[in-house]
């Protein structure tokens, strides 16, 4: 980190004015300035596919206080932090990646503690196939599609660092699509704030499951306690 600076402590330091393309573009310009004023190490990706940092295993790697930025326009196949093996991330941020900020693939496990993903071309955080992603605090905002996505058998869990305070919990807000999208995947958000996204805040599709406990959630599809498309469900644990 730059002298005297810390990683974004929560979503509150990011500008988030709306989920429209214009609002997200405006917020993105402010947020990259805020991030660069904090981080001492930035990995910049250009118009190429690939990862900023990839954990390929064997074993788990620990990454702390790194900012990875992209070109801030869309093309498929670029991610800031990519777990193929296991990764543990603390205080890291992704901004403007052409595709995804944080990605867990295959059988990997990614732990993201106080990590933030903004202004990415599609999604902020993803877990796909058999991957597992644990979000402890942190946030996703201003991404073109979803803040968080679990797909094709993956699971994402989230909680506040103290497992109690919603103010410290993960936030997904002002993304262009959904705050959390589970397409044949599972997402459980505890003490989170999932609001003000462009489409639906928590969305389950094709046998996906979204669930929340003691958080703040705006819109949900299917409605709490109901089965939607191809047995997708949304569960509110209160």
């Amino acid at each position: 980190m730059l002298p005297g600076q810390v990683p974004p402590p929560n979503a509150g330091v990011f500008q988030r004015s709306g989920s429209s393309a214009a609002a997200r573009a405006n917020d993105a310009a402010y947020n990259i300035g805020m991030l660069r004023a904090r981080y001492g190490t930035e990995i910049r990706l250009d118009g190429s596919t690939g990862f900023g940092i990839a954990g390929t295993g064997p074993g788990s790697i620990n990454i702390k206080n790194i900012l990875i930025t992209g070109p801030n326009y869309y093309f498929a196949g670029q991610a800031g932090f990519g777990a193929i093996g296991n990764m543990s991330l603390n205080g890291c941020s992704a901004w403007g990646l052409s595709d995804v900020g944080f990605a867990a693939y295959g059988t990997s496990q990614m732990s993201a503690i106080n990590c933030h993903s903004y202004a990415c071309g599609t999604r902020g955080f993803i877990a796909t196939a058999s991957a597992a992603l644990q979000l402890t605090g942190g946030s996703a905002g201003g991404n073109t599609s979803h803040g968080v996505e679990a797909s094709h058998g993956a699971r994402i869990n989230s909680d506040a660092p103290d497992q109690a305070s919603i103010s410290l919990g993960f936030q997904s807000a002002y993304n262009g699509g959904c705050g959390c999208s589970a397409q044949s995947g599972f997402i459980f958000i505890r003490h989170g704030t999932i609001v003000s996204n462009g489409s639906t805040d928590m969305f389950a599709w094709n046998m996906g499951t979204v669930a929340q406990y003691q958080g703040s959630v705006g819109t949900v599809s299917p409605y709490w306690g109901n089965e939607g498309n191809l047995n997708s469900i949304a569960i509110n644990y209160g």
Binding site: T122, H152, G177, S181, S221, G228, N229
Partner: protein
């Protein structure tokens, strides 16, 4: 294999667009109030082929380019059935018929000779039957000239008050 028909919630303001976002989707048979996902929603009864799945790389489900072509008869007739079921369920209709037969057996075919409470009951049921008939007539007209929003109250007969 019979194509599955589903209830698709989309924003009413997107009805005129090419690919409305799918806000929610439920089996056809499940009663889901139209305000479940907030105001400004339209519910379309569509075959699953009218939904464009998200890609493997994410995105959101939308209606396909020519979703109106899928709607046609299914969208209108399913909406008509939904409206009738909401106001006068199939079991209520059967019970109504049975009640009328009982009245006729008991009081005769001339309803003018029925006691006031039976006549009042018949009048209430007649209102519901009139509504059923009106919805069916309107549905036939909508199949010929499809309305912009088949789920809008504005394009269907007013529901009976009882």
């Amino acid at each position: 294999m019979t194509t599955q028909t589903v209830q698709v919630f989309i924003r009413s303001e997107e009805l005129g667009g090419a690919n409305p976002l799918v806000i929610a989707c439920y089996p056809e048979s499940r009663p889901v109030p139209i305000d479940t996902h907030g105001p400004g929603m339209s519910v379309l009864m569509l075959p699953v082929e009218a939904i464009q799945q998200p890609s493997l790389d994410g995105g959101v489900p939308k209606l396909v380019d020519n979703w109106q072509d899928f709607g046609g008869t299914t969208a209108v007739s399913s909406e008509a059935a939904r409206r009738i079921e909401q106001s006068f369920t199939a079991s209520e209709q059967i019970a109504s018929n049975r009640q009328m037969i009982e009245y006729i057996q008991k009081y005769g075919a001339d309803t003018a000779k029925w006691p006031p409470d039976a006549r009042q009951h018949k009048a209430e049921l007649d209102e519901k039957w009139k509504y059923v008939d009106a919805v069916k007539v309107q549905a036939r007209a909508h199949i010929t000239a499809r309305p912009h929003d088949p789920s809008s109250d504005k394009v269907w007969p007013t529901r009976p008050s009882t």
